[in-house]
Symmetry: C2
Subunit: 101 residues, 2 copies
């Protein structure tokens, strides 16, 4: 798992942007208004998200519609899902321990 995705989501405003885009794809202005961010910072954050592969852009007239991409979130889900193995093993150890094994 690359830290890049975590880095992208670590910035509070960027995380909020992702939450907004989870609602629906949006233009820079829509995001900007919803989150009360200045337009340039909104563009910059969206650029970072795009570089990290979290969003895609689709030009419509002068607007640019940003949407979430699926893959990185699926990857993230797989990664964090793989931790179940860890919890289970810990529980097994605990069990064995309680049985004085």
């Amino acid at each position: 798992m690359s830290p890049t995705i975590f880095n992208a989501l670590a910035e509070p405003n960027r995380l909020k942007i992702v939450e907004v885009l989870r609602g629906r794809p949006s233009s820079v202005n829509e995001v900007s208004l919803l989150l009360k961010l200045r337009q340039p910072q909104t563009s910059k954050h969206l650029h970072v998200l795009a570089e990290a592969g979290l969003v895609s852009v689709k030009p419509v007239a002068q607007q640019r519609i940003y949407s979430l991409k699926a893959e990185p979130f699926i990857q993230l889900e797989d990664w964090v899902g793989s931790f179940h193995q860890y919890w289970n093993q810990r529980l097994d150890n605990l069990e064995r321990h309680l049985k004085k094994g």
Copy 2:
């Protein structure tokens, strides 16, 4: 979802530490040796992870055994899991669109 957990995982060495601890709980020295980090930086990173609530500490003699905590990872899994709703809705829209609805 708080950005704190993402921030903790955004630092490459800290992410590696989490991967190590996913294998098994470890002392500072073990982590330090495995990742070829200096002891102070290892301690610092573990401290950040602890502050973020990702790990817990258990003193054993002079050693401190760090282990992953379950909750934050479960929270993360829930959060990213909630994105399925988004993908599905997008797919529905596509479907309607293809049917010229």
